[in-house]
């Protein structure tokens, strides 16, 4: 007997949701093979919103650490072994505690999980943001004084 239509429908949904282009399933006698044309994303990317980092193909959680696949930041390809520090809130990004002080970190700085990497200001309250990772600051992704949204990548860290 042929596989159930509902099962096929479910597979197709899975393909679309996850933007797969090919899928084949076999079990002994039974086989289902599906292929879709090109990269047809049904989701609309909102132009006004800074892109949240997401692995290109397998569609893992937005803002997750980039592992196991290449991911893009601002259109550039980022090697797989970096870790991102994301904004845990909405606010204004500052690299230093006050205008007279040096920045908390710069490219090349060594950080540990509890190293403060920046402050974020929201409603006149300044919050120190910790690295939550160990390694070397590879890149600062946001300009001093720039507004950031929840989940936005702030730093790229090369893990220790």
């Amino acid at each position: 007997m042929l596989p159930d239509i509902d099962k096929i429908r479910e597979l197709v949904e899975m393909m679309i949701t996850n933007d797969l282009v090919e899928l084949s399933v076999r079990d002994g006698e039974q086989e289902i093979a599906l292929r879709r044309s090109g990269p047809v994303s049904n989701d609309v990317v909102v132009g006004a919103v800074p892109q949240v980092v997401a692995p290109a193909v397998d569609g893992g959680g937005a803002g997750g650490n980039a592992d196991g696949a290449e991911s893009t930041v601002g259109g550039e390809v980022v090697p797989v072994d970096f870790v991102e520090i994301h904004s845990p809130m909405v606010g204004t990004f500052y690299t230093r505690p006050d205008p007279e002080s040096p920045p908390f970190v710069h490219v090349g700085s060594q950080v540990g999980p509890s190293s403060v990497v920046c402050v974020l200001e929201a409603m006149k309250v300044f919050s120190e943001i910790k690295a939550e990772a160990s390694g070397t600051i590879e890149r600062v992704l946001v300009e001093d004084g720039e507004a950031v949204e929840y989940g936005q990548p702030l730093f790229l860290v090369r893990p220790a």
């Binding site: 609309v44 919103v49 929201a122 409603m123 507004a147 929840y150």
Partner: protein, 445 residues
Amino acid sequence: MFQRILIANRGEIALRIIRACRELSVEVVCAFSEEDAGAAYLGLADRAICIGGAAPRDSYLKSDRVIAAAEVAGADAIHPGYGFLSENAAFADKCRECNIEFIGPSADSMRLLGDKAAARTLAKKVKVSIVPGSDGVLEGDNETIKVAQKIGFPVIIKATAGGGGRGMRVVHDKTDLLAAIKQAKQEADGAFEKSDVYIERYIDRPRHVEVQILADRHGNVVHLGERDCTLQRRYQKLLEESPSPAIDSRMRSDLCSSAVKLAKAAGYDNAGTVEFLVDAKKRFYFIEVNARIQVEHPVTELTTGIDLIKAQIRIAAGEKLEFSQKAVKPRGHVIECRINAEDPDENFRPCAGVIEKFRLPGGPGVRVDTHGYEGYRLSPKYDSLLAKVLVFQPTRPEAIRCMQRALGEFTIEPLKTTLPFLQRVLAHPDFVDGSIDTGFAERTF
């Protein structure tokens, strides 16, 4: 007028507010959760800002994040929509402390009307009838019997800590009263660890009729006629219409002027809805004020031709109402159906997933408000309201026919929706008659 408004909401009401801002030439920024990232309505805003995770408590209910988003976006006002932070007086205060206008009433009138006892007292003061009740916890058997006799049987016993029908008990006769009170107290104690109960007259088979009001900050209050929201299921409205098929023009005028009196007494401004129950003998009783815009506001927009969201924004910006009570002239008959992604055959279980086919009804007399489209993934994390279909026609029978054909055109696949349920309602003789009550849907389907 504001320069830039932040919307602290999602889905169809966020889209509705975006549209109003566009038409007012006000810039609009939409706050969104990670779960809503990529939704098409966000693309219609000038900017969209992610404020947190999927769970409302991590995003749409997080007042600090919402205000921070308004600050970084340079918004000078926040529209809260309905639900979420819309009736949170502390949030309204906090916005205004941050020099961001909250598009809604003053926090004081929100607090006043949010307190059930205070609202009842206010209604009594301006001589608007309320459901007769014990006005507080019952002390001692003698007092209980006296109060019940004064209210008149049947009465309903309710737990002060109650909700969802638990602890409620209808008593038709004096002889059953004390035993019922005892049982209700035990039930309340078990359910809420608080045994306090009060009694109210039991309104059998009531209709739910509400009056839309608009009030500016210069003392002008107008009503925009009523909406009949009797078709409900577990206190969820499913279909609303105006005018109400159950009230005549004298009663309409009484209801509407009661609503205006209450709003004036509460020092209310912006849009609000005054809710009433109407009993079988056509007596009406004030229940509560919803101090925000409501899901069913388009019903009134279509009867009156007045854009309520634009009016809200103008009022919050300090403008005077552009029209007098006399200039408000409701016309025709309007029905709204809520299309929820729920399976009516499975006890209205919400159905999430990707919409593969989505064809909207259109043509004469039809308005559709929806954030859906082909390819939209309806999240299980939020309300299942997917679309509101409204029709406006000269008469109620024509409106019913028009709604039947509009719903017949609406194709949504593969999600289950309330479309077939609504078709059954529209074809039911009691609905066509206009003789239903709030229990109709649960009893009948």
